[in-house]
């Protein structure tokens, strides 16, 4: 199976290890992974801030880069949400439509397409709080949002249960937004930081040593908040755990 890897701009810049873990994990699972070299960004920062027309060229580049693959996989729920639901500045021809439809977030790709549940090489002997980002939770359908009266499900938990030694702990408000929100985190700094503080305090209160998420952007924000509050929390992308990263031993 030929899979193109999309490494979003902030992961490229700040969290290369997440890109590496995603690449290695997909390869372990038998995918032939290609990293189109001219990729930059999906256009979300511009789209998210209302400047949709400024996103057009970046979106066009995205479509060009990823037009030739069966699947495009990315370790970032919010970027995949943008591609799938909001990549609308560029012309919606058949190529664009195909790229949008074949773009998957890593967890859903593992869960729904590859349908793996076991990660025999993975062991993570820590107390872990799961952060479902709003984009993955409510837009990509990773898990049951707490607002809806529908049967329960959780794709990230299905995967994490296949990791040895992991202990999951639950915050009191499991799916309250952490306040990252794309450009919101800088344009609405006071509320954003307060939400982040509340989020990491909630996880910390539940006894989490690590917060894991399929969205590195939320973790970047939460990590910045936890460090400022001097909370002893560590942050890790789900790709790293599934790929066998064992975290720091106590």
């Amino acid at each position: 199976m030929r899979v193109a890897l999309f490494v979003p701009c902030f992961i490229d810049s700040f969290f290369p290890e997440v890109g590496v873990a995603t690449l290695e994990l997909l390869e372990r699972l038998g995918c032939e992974v290609v990293y189109p070299f001219d990729q930059t960004c999906c256009g979300q920062p511009m789209g998210n801030s209302g400047c949709e027309t400024d996103a057009r060229a970046a979106e066009a580049l995205f479509v060009r880069n990823f037009a030739d693959y069966d699947y495009v996989v990315s370790p970032s729920g919010s970027c995949v949400h943008h591609v799938r639901d909001h990549l609308t500045a560029v012309e919606q021809d058949s190529t664009t439509r195909k790229v949008r439809a074949s773009t998957y977030e890593l967890v859903e790709f593992l869960h729904d397409i590859l349908q793996v549940r076991q990660f025999p090489w993975a062991e993570f002997p820590h107390k872990v709080g799961l952060h479902n980002s709003c984009g993955t939770l409510r837009r990509l359908g990773h898990a049951k949002p707490s607002e809806l009266n529908v049967p329960d499900w959780s794709k990230p938990l299905d995967l994490l249960r296949g990791v040895k030694g992991i202990e999951l702990v639950m915050p009191q408000r499991p799916d309250e937004c952490c306040g990252f929100g794309g450009t919101f985190c800088v344009t609405e700094e006071p509320v954003s930081a307060r939400m982040g503080y509340d989020k990491v305090r909630d996880h910390s209160g539940a006894g989490a040593e690590y917060i894991v998420s399929a969205d590195m952007s939320c973790l970047m924000h939460q990590k910045g908040c936890a460090e400022r509050l001097s909370l002893p929390l560590k942050f890790i992308h789900i790709a790293q755990i599934l790929n066998g990263d064992q975290g720091e031993m106590a």
Binding site: P145, E188, S192
Partner: protein, 473 residues
């Protein structure tokens, strides 16, 4: 409360960031506000989960509202016909000014100098109270929360619990200053009793009573109001003259549809199975008079907007506000308009885009509002759309606009983009700078910055994989 929060926000653009910063700085208030509203949200979940057909009810409610809105003129006429047949005088107001004029005329021609009214967001929207008071008519709010806000000269900050941002001690202060209760007694029962003793005489004295409408039923010409204090019953029935202010979107076709909404309204709003009083006003009592005012005030204009017309489905339950993490941490006054929270962010701009241009950005687009909304309004998608309109209309700062233009150019050009991101030190100063002008000023205030790694993923790949691929070839 701080001075800024206490003031009514004027005509200039609402600065949501500034006001929320003040709100957040006040730890007891923000902690209470967040917790109180989250409790309502939790209670709401309990109620919603106790009804197996909850999601079906939402679909049904949404369907009924969409059907009504797409046949609105017919149902309004049916409502008018039936109300008139019940002996009610029906008026039509195209805007707030006309609404206020009609109310004043009804009262003035009958020499009414005191009006008791139950809570109505529409009369807030029309700014009716100051209009009448300037013309010598005393207007007394009879809902407890609304009365607190009236006495404190503040607008309601939540559409269901208007004084939710106040601690009991704040209320004790307000009441001590205005109705003479004991400043040092903040017991809620004591305060509620104080307000009751103060307000009751007005019911007997008032020449007219007024309510809003939660629902208006075309088939019967009746108006339905839902309150927990029974104050709409008293306002509507004790005085000889009754006036109902009705937004034209409140119409539902038949009595049989009412149950769908009644089952969801209080469950969504307060997490209680039903409101204490669901009152039906059909016609004037013996010797009395009834007037309905059907108010447009921008609604038909919104009905014509492709992306935004279904915000008219709103039944004003406030669930979207309770669940909104931004509203809970910034308070209702930070929205600077009659409607706060997510619903305010999508309807206030239809009243005045310039004034409310900040509101669509006062959201993380997390979508919780959309999920709790009993009538399935796609609130966060409308917020996303509003952002585009705000930008198109030039209501964003020059800096932000230029930053986005630049970001768009850099991100469309792999070479330039690599120049920005390449290199350890440049990683920090580079890329995020291209998505917003110097964002780390704002980022770093209360958060640590991410540490730039030794190499970007791109560089790692070039060194470890591409080199390998070339070797293998």
């Amino acid at each position: 409360m701080s001075a800024v929060l206490g003031k009514k926000v004027g005509k200039k653009s609402v600065d949501h960031v500034k006001i929320s910063r003040e709100f957040i700085a006040d730890e007891p208030h923000i902690a209470f506000h967040d917790k109180r509203l989250w409790t309502l949200r939790t209670l709401r979940d309990g109620q919603a989960n106790a009804i197996p057909e909850w999601e079906e009810l939402r679909v049904l409610a949404s369907g009924i509202k969409e059907h009504t809105l797409t046949h609105l003129a017919d149902y309004l006429e049916e409502f008018e016909r039936n109300a008139t047949a019940n002996g009610v005088t029906v008026h039509w107001a195209k805007d707030a000014a006309e609404h206020n004029r009609i109310v004043h005329e009804i009262l003035a021609t009958r020499n009414v100098d005191t009006l008791v009214k139950s809570k109505s967001m529409l009369t807030e929207e029309c700014d009716m109270r100051p209009y009448l008071e300037a013309r010598g008519i005393t207007v007394v709010e009879t809902d407890l929360g609304e009365r607190i806000q009236q006495l404190d000269d503040e607008p309601p900050t939540h559409i269901v619990v208007p004084a939710v941002h106040k601690l009991a001690t704040d209320v004790a202060e307000v009441f001590a200053d205005t109705i003479g209760t004991d400043r040092n007694n903040a017991d809620p029962h004591y305060l509620a009793e104080g307000m009751r003793q103060d307000t009751r005489p007005y019911f007997l004295k008032a020449g007219a009573g007024m309510t809003g409408a939660n629902f208006a039923i075309a088939e019967t010409g009746t108006v339905v109001t839902c309150t927990n204090e029974g104050n709409a019953d008293l306002s509507g029935n004790v005085p000889p003259l009754y006036i109902a202010s009705i937004g034209i979107e409140k119409i539902i076709p038949k009595m049989e549809h009412l149950g769908v909404f009644i089952r969801m309204l209080s469950r969504s709003a307060l997490g209680s199975p039903i409101t204490q009083y669901t009152s039906h006003f059909r016609g004037p009592r013996d010797g009395g008079e009834s007037h309905y005012i059907l108010v447009d005030n921008g609604r038909s204009e919104r009905l014509a907007m492709d992306d935004f017309w279904y915000s008219l489905k709103c039944i004003r339950c406030g669930a979207c506000m309770n669940t909104c993490p931004v509203y809970r941490r910034s308070g209702g006054l930070s929205y600077g308009g009659v409607y706060a929270g997510p619903i305010g962010a999508i309807i206030n701009p239809t009243f005045d885009l310039k004034k409310y241009s900040a509101l669509p950005f006062a959201s993380t687009l997390n979508g919780s509002c959309t999920n709790v909304c009993p009538v399935k309004i796609n609130i966060h998608e409308q917020i996303y759309k509003w952002r585009q309109i705000v930008v198109e209309q030039g209501e964003v700062s020059f800096v932000k606009k230029e930053a986005m233009k630049m970001a768009g150019k850099v991100l469309a050009d792999p070479k330039r983009y690599r120049q920005w991101t390449a290199g350890t030190n440049k990683a920090l100063a580079g890329l995020p700078r291209s998505f917003l002008y110097n964002p780390f000023n704002a980022w770093g205030k209360q958060r640590e910055l991410p540490e730039p790694p030794k190499q970007t993923f791109h560089q790692w790949y070039a060194a470890n994989r591409q080199a390998k691929e070339e070797d293998e070839q």
